[in-house]
Amino acid sequence: MQFNSYSYLLVLLVSVLLFWNLPVRFRHAYVLILSILFYASWNVYFLIVPVIMCVIVFWSSSKIRDGGSAGQRALWAGIAGIVAILGVFKYGHFIAENLSSLSTWLGLAPLPLAWRLALPLGISFYSFEAISYLLDTRQGRVKSASFRDLFLFIMFWPHLIAGPIVRTRELIPQLKFDKPFESRFVFTGLDRLLLGLVQKNLIANTIGGWVDEGFLPKAAALNTTIDNWALAVAFGIQIYFDFAAYTNMAIGAAQMIGITLPENFRFPYHAANPVDFWSRWHMTLSRWIRDYVFFPLNAGLQHKKLRLYVSLVGVMGVVGLWHGAAWGFVLWGLMHGIYLASYRAFENWRGEQTPQPLALRFAVRLITLCAVVAAWVPFRAVSLEQAMTMLKSMFLSFSFGFSFSVNFYLMALIWCLWIALEPTFSKLLNLVGEPDRPGLLGAFNGYLLRPGGYAVLLLVFMVFDDRDTQFIYFQF
């Protein structure tokens, strides 16, 4: 059941209505049932994977709570179990394929390829959440020891498929569902939900059609330099609005039942430098990687700069691989790793405390934007070969001309302008204020301005309704 489908919206409306009319003691079970049904709506068999993962995590976390070396062993066993499940489903075929290629290259008989397993939706996301549950348990941050809480922490439908990747301390305390109803839950929830619907249907889907066409393998080789830059920008727009749309809808749906999920984006294309970009793009993944991988790996190595840079590139390569079992994703991650390491080296060379002149700040901002856009090419390209052809045309072998309809370039330009103005729009929207304030202003807001705005957003969603597209991050 897609977030931007009519069936989901109708079910959500009814579910929220029922939720607030249920006694508090039933709400936990009710939300758990809804979450299970939501996940099963794709494929009932998919449920087996998170259930097994939860059993492993529950067993492991019980042992961890007992402490001692047995606890430590249980932690590693739990993490190994989760990584093994993720590995088999997500990387099994990729590894077999690459081993087979290697074997052929060495002149040996190709290996028989493993049969391809269906990848359970959202496995990368809930695997990371399961690992964070174990690590947080080890650090004594998980207060609840109940399987019910663990299962709902993993299965909670708004974040189940594509994040935000939540921490135990962010979600588990809220799973009591004991907040009294406030109308702002519905209003702020609808704000985010409808904004997401429009971002997905109006922006991501419409520009996505052009991107699909431009990245067709045999046609891409014929694109001009301008076409390839435009396609990279267009994909940057598509993936941002697609993922931000999902996140907005997830946050909105959770908000409607009184649950606050963490934010995932903060105007990423306004980043001042590569480090800043990763504090604005997929923020919950960045902090997960930072806290659970990068910091532990590099503890006490601040003075060993080279090792720090190599580790940064390596970790980002893994981030790339987390997205999918393909070399394009790895290259994307490595490119970002190089950006981050280069910027760190540049900062060290200049001295971090030295203020940057305006022109330099502008140049770094522009280079960051171009670098981020260029990195989308291997992320989207269907093969490394295609990515290299396109990158070569963008940076080395120039050719000019516009191969696609003017509408494509125009659309890309309009959405770029939109992105440029997003912080301003956001400030203007904040002026609209809360709908539950008393008096005439509150009534105007709650009964005229917001319903009118919601109706316009719903109309746009319906007009640009397209059942044939899915969210990009559903693949990961």
Partner: protein, 397 residues
């Protein structure tokens, strides 16, 4: 209001009421009308001659029914000469020139209709069929040809293709044409095409995948399509539930209008582009990149298929408005001429150049001035006469 639950419920109810009002009021039509010149609207003829026996009447949106009807007709006349003419909206639109009177009560005929009339009047025993669609791409023509070839009754003696500068910039296969994949023989043939190494192959494969995905969603079944990340799409009861929901919602008349709303919004955006940004239908352009290569490879494949199946392939270069040439530079024009003459030499049994056949005053006026694609009544007659006189249709069986 003190009760927060009632407050929220009222706001949701008001939202649906406002949505209902918006759908009923049709805001995009009003927006579009800001830019529409009523005189230009009148010049665009809406009462056109329609005959499902000689035309694909859905303009590419639902061609299967049209082609099945054609098959039942043509199976009765297999021994007589038959031709199919394909092209873009120029072949089925009339946009009156400023000197022409406003619409008459009689339905207007476009040049494919008039050509067939002339042939019939001259006693030729020939059956003609117009298989056109707006903004058609040559990948779509290849799509159609593959369908014709797997139905022996539909294989024409002559296949006439309109060559047009603008068409070389179009790409893809429109969703409406996907339904031809319901035919197993065609599906098998087009999958074979999609497996080739030709530049058009990816486009065909994309259409096949989109259709498979759509069908899987409608039926709630599992597909075997695999994405870049290795995910095998799986569809559970959610998809079937969505299909049921959509069917139920389509019973509400006010919701059914959303397709029309989209068309009006796109019209408005197009007019806004022309009027506010000055990017007009007559803005000059060049050919190049993927669109040119995929179209070219499609035409080459069409040429091979026609040769292999004994079909007489005829190309005609569509008229261009002398007051609104689309070529950005002289080099662009020369490149286009080289491409089409090369294609004609290599594959066509007949080639007719009508590029300069329609004088400027006979062309329609659209939005910002002379229309580069569409012309008026007299021009349609003139072009049909020229095609007839030059013997574009040989009447071969």
């Amino acid at each position: 209001m003190k009760n927060p639950k009632l407050q929220a419920l009222l706001a949701v109810a008001l939202t649906f009421a406002a949505l209902w009002c918006l759908l009923a009021w049709d805001p995009f039509r009003h927006l579009r009308d800001v830019f529409v010149d009523p005189a230009q609207e009148e010049a665009k003829i809406s009462l056109l001659f329609t005959d499902p026996n000689t035309q694909e009447v859905s303009d590419g949106q639902h061609p299967l029914e049209s082609l099945r009807k054609l098959e039942s007709n043509w199976c009765n006349v297999t021994k007589e000469a038959r031709y199919i003419l394909t092209g873009n909206s120029q072949t089925f639109s009339v946009l009156l020139a400023p000197s022409e009177a406003v619409a008459t009560e009689e339905a207007d005929r476009t040049y494919p209709d008039l050509l067939l009339d002339r042939l019939t009047a001259a006693g030729a025993k020939v059956h003609g069929y117009r298989l056109s669609a707006p903004n058609i791409s040559y990948m779509e023509v290849l799509w159609y040809l593959n369908y014709l070839l797997v139905h022996p009754c539909l294989i024409p003696g002559e296949f006439v293709i309109q060559l047009n500068f603008e068409t070389f910039r179009k790409t893809g296969v429109r969703e409406g044409m996907f339904e031809l994949l319901e035919d197993p023989d065609f599906a098998s043939a087009i999958k074979q095409e999609a497996r080739s190494n030709a530049p058009y192959a990816n486009t065909l494969q994309q259409a096949i995948d989109q259709y498979a995905s759509r069908i899987a969603k409608e039926k709630g079944t599992q597909t075997s399509s695999i994405s870049k990340t290795g995910i095998t799409e799986a569809r559970g009861f959610g998809s079937a539930f969505e299909t049921t929901t959509r069917i139920a919602l389509d019973h509400l008349s006010w919701l059914r209008s959303r397709g029309q709303l989209k068309a009006e919004l796109l019209d408005f955006l197009y007019l806004a582009r022309v009027n506010l940004l000055g990017i007009t239908p007559t803005t000059k352009r060049s050919l190049g990149g993927g669109p040119l290569t995929t179209n070219l490879s499609s035409l080459e494949r069409i040429g091979e298929l026609c040769r292999r199946n004994g079909i007489r392939l005829v190309f005609f270069n569509a008229p261009q408005n002398p007051n609104a040439p689309l070529y950005r530079t002289t080099a662009d024009r020369e490149q286009y001429q080289q491409i089409i003459s090369g294609l004609a030499r290599q594959f066509a049994q007949g080639y007719f150049d009508f590029e300069n056949s329609i004088p400027g005053p006979l062309w329609g006026v659209w939005i910002d001035g002379p229309d580069p694609i569409h012309f008026g009544r007299a021009a349609h007659r003139r072009l049909a006469d020229l095609m007839f006189e030059q013997g574009m249709i040989s009447g071969e069986k």
